[in-house]
């Protein structure tokens, strides 16, 4: 019986296990390990896809030499669709693309202004790309981002992804992963926000800079917000866990706050038939710096003054950001149309076609509740 089982197992492996095609695909040396994809639209409606890849042949040698990052190669190919364009890399390099290590998808200006719909489809259908990869918009072309060199070395897609994560942690960009983009895209409003990248030159060296957040209305790029303004977009969206805020306090002193926790409660009610959004932002922060300021010993009165001016500043910034979004860009990047849809579906259904004007005319009541936790090495509760 045992012999028969062994023979059966060997036969099954022989028949199904050793397929030459499968073995070829599984050998990492035959795969093109993609870590960044950039897509641009050309004037003749064709796509240019820039792939940043890890050179698997050179990697083992450089690893032995103790190189800080694996050797990177970039490829630029053109074609009618994204899929066939990426596939055509195989003809140049003789390797099969492997997307599972992909870190980021960068969309060129031409794509974000015109063809977002066509691009998104490929990434929804593709099963190899992770649902949690970051999507970013390029200020100009995506290829210049992935081909940017810092000295002799390419700026790696991995380091761009790390930069995006760091900025997202500080609420200075509106980080969007593939699944979030598709969810927004399928939800009706098709308004979203993406981190925006640019190539910067400083001191004769080129680098990739995260310049802020690209705001989209109905899948089209409208404008970009600076990183400082994005903090308030994140407050509106309840996406702030950590942030740095600087403002001018009393006696023209520059004060910096380190936000350590934040919660934005969003409620909807109707007043005179108009949607009224109650936005209550609860912030817990430490005083990080008072420029040209006082010693560490502070009175409770000083604290109250700082708190009041901070609340006033945050209120003003949030209100301006909200106006910018709904009145100028007509974008629901922070999700208030969605709130209306969930809480008052009948109203949404009636006003779906002119929702931009409804949001413009709605009332927004913003309330800031700031708690200062620490002033330095001492807790505020000690006062």
């Amino acid at each position: 019986m045992r012999k028969a089982t062994v023979v059966l197992v060997v036969l099954i492996i022989a028949v199904f296990g050793f397929n030459e095609k499968e073995i070829y695909k599984k050998d990492i040396r035959n795969r093109l390990v993609i870590q960044g994809i950039g897509i641009d639209l050309e004037k003749d409606d064709s796509y240019t896809v820039t792939l940043q890849t890890i050179d698997t042949n050179a990697q083992s040698a450089t690893s032995a030499e103790g190189a800080s990052q694996p050797p990177i190669k970039t490829y630029k190919v053109s074609g009618d669709t994204i899929y066939t364009t990426i596939k055509s890399v195989t003809e140049i390099e003789g390797k099969i693309p492997l997307y599972s290590q992909n870190r980021i998808i960068i969309l060129g200006k031409s794509i974000t202004e015109e063809k977002m719909d066509d691009v998104i489809d490929f990434f929804v259908r593709d099963v190899e790309n992770s649902a949690s990869i970051y999507i970013a918009a390029a200020e100009n072309s995506a290829s210049e981002i992935l081909e940017a060199k810092n000295g002799e070395e390419y700026v790696s897609a991995r380091s761009i992804e790390t930069g995006i994560k760091a900025c997202e942690y500080d609420a200075r960009i509106f980080g969007t992963q593939l699944y979030e983009l598709i969810s927004r895209y399928n939800s009706g409003s098709k308004d979203f926000a993406l981190p925006m990248l640019s190539v910067a030159e400083k001191g004769g060296k080129t680098g990739v800079e995260i310049i802020g957040t690209a705001i989209f209305n109905n899948t089209r790029f409208r404008e970009y917000m600076s990183k400082d303004d994005t903090v308030y977009l994140n407050f509106l969206s309840d996406k702030v866990y950590n942030a740095a805020i600087s403002f001018i306090g009393q006696n023209d002193k520059k004060i910096s706050l380190n936000v350590v926790d934040s919660k934005t409660e969003r409620k909807l009610k109707f007043e005179n038939g108009k949607p009224t959004f109650k936005i209550n932002v609860k912030i817990k922060a430490d005083i990080a710096e008072i420029n040209g300021g006082v010693s560490q010993t502070m009175t409770k009165e000083d604290m109250e003054k700082i708190k009041a001016s901070a609340e006033q500043y945050i209120y003003k910034q949030i209100t301006e950001t909200r106006k910018l979004l709904y009145e100028q860009y007509e974008s629901d990047a922070c999700g208030y149309v969605r709130l209306l849809y969930i809480l008052k579906p009948s109203f949404y259904r009636e006003n779906e076609k002119n929702i931009d004007s409804v949001m413009r005319d709605s009332i927004y009541e913003v309330d800031i509740d700031l708690k200062i936790r620490r002033v330095g090495h001492e807790f505020i509760e000690m006062f």
Binding site: I13, F16, V124, V127, S130, Y179, S183, Y185, S187, I342
Partner: protein, 362 residues
């Protein structure tokens, strides 16, 4: 093997693991007419429907707790019992094939895209057949051990997703009316072959069955509701674009420096599939052995496994065949017939005296 018995705890844990597989391998194509938040409401309807369809089985068990639906039918008439036996064997066979086919589709499209996974499928079925060969008790004990691994893993994955949950991804409840929600609840009950398993297995179970059933029904519904909650709030409408949304959900989960927890959910999947397919193969062989074919149960297990492999090789060669066979209407009919229609018929026409006679003959 015939006198194998499980405690109510072991039996319903086995069914819990079996149903967890159906939840984890949930296909978004089943619920294209329903909005996300409705998926959170449908478990309420599911509990009601699940309880109602089990009433005939419970009444039979209350009347005669040593005979199952099949032995009572056989005591009534061999001619009538033959199609009933065929019906149960076919249902369990169909669900075995679908369990393996989903594993096949998952492996071939998500884990190893464009890779021929026939090799893996053959081994998976042989492994499940080995589980069936070890018997009912061994499967029950394995299920309890599996539950100790599976439940914490699922809780852990959901816990890591808490920060990513966004209530704005939800949709208004009953936006398209109540009917799509009820239809989805019926679909969900239809995918629960475990109701049919209960109908033929109760005499093999000792302990408080009523309590075990309700704990099982509520726990698997709660698990389903929690998983749908996270799928809806984390992925939003993206969930409906994914073939296996819960696998995608686990790939989004991250904990500390660890990300892409999909490998963990894959292991849960394989573990649950082993228990479910093993149990279904065992039941097919057991029913055939008890009623028609007087050959060794081990040979029947091997035969069932071979037929399952052949069926899966035919289905797996084309996705359109899988989509055709993995049909919710077929499942509703098979589950409805084995869990409700046959037990109701047996309840109405069966007689206690004849049951005892049948037991003596066996």
């Amino acid at each position: 093997m015939q006198n194998e018995k499980l405690s109510a705890f072991q039996f319903f844990t086995m069914l819990f693991i079996s149903r967890t597989l159906t939840t984890v391998t949930y296909l978004s194509s089943y619920t294209k007419d329903i909005r996300l938040s409705d998926m959170l409401v449908q478990p309420i309807f599911r509990i009601i429907i699940g309880t109602l369809i089990m009433i005939p089985v419970y009444l039979i068990y209350k009347k005669q707790n040593t005979a199952d639906v099949l032995s009572i039918a056989r005591s009534k008439s061999k001619i009538i019992s033959t199609p009933i036996v065929i019906c149960y064997v076919f249902t369990f066979f169909y669900f075995t094939v679908m369990t393996v086919a989903r594993l096949d589709v998952f492996a071939g499209t998500v884990v190893f895209p464009e890779t021929d996974v026939k090799f893996m499928i053959i081994f998976a079925v042989l492994l499940c057949a080995y589980g069936a060969y070890l018997g009912f008790e061994a499967l029950g004990r394995s299920a309890v051990l599996s539950a100790i691994l599976v439940v914490p893993v699922l809780v852990f994955i959901m816990a890591t997703l808490t920060k990513k949950a966004d209530l704005l991804n939800l949709t208004p409840v009953f936006y398209n009316g109540v009917m799509p929600v009820i239809k989805t609840a019926v679909d969900s009950v239809g995918q629960t072959v475990e109701y049919g398993i209960i109908a033929v297995c109760l005499p093999k179970v000792s302990g408080n069955i009523k309590k075990g059933f309700f704990v099982w029904l509520i726990l698997q519904t709660v698990l389903m509701a929690i998983m749908f909650f996270f799928a809806a709030t984390v992925m939003g409408n993206f969930a409906s674009t994914q073939l296996f949304p819960f696998h995608t959900l686990s790939s989004i989960a991250e904990f500390s420096i660890f990300d892409r927890l999909d490998a963990i959910i894959t292991s849960v999947w394989i573990l649950c599939a082993f228990i479910k397919a093993g149990l279904l193969i065992y039941l097919q062989a057991d029913i055939l052995h008890r009623t028609f074919i007087k050959i060794k149960k081990e040979y029947l297990i091997v035969g069932t496994a071979i037929v399952t492999i052949i069926a899966n090789l035919i289905i797996s060669s084309e996705f359109s065949r899988f989509a055709f066979v993995d049909n919710s209407v077929i499942k509703i009919i098979l589950t409805g017939v084995t869990a409700f229609v046959i037990p109701l018929g047996v309840l109405i026409f069966g007689r206690k005296g004849q049951v005892k006679k049948c037991e003596k003959q066996q």
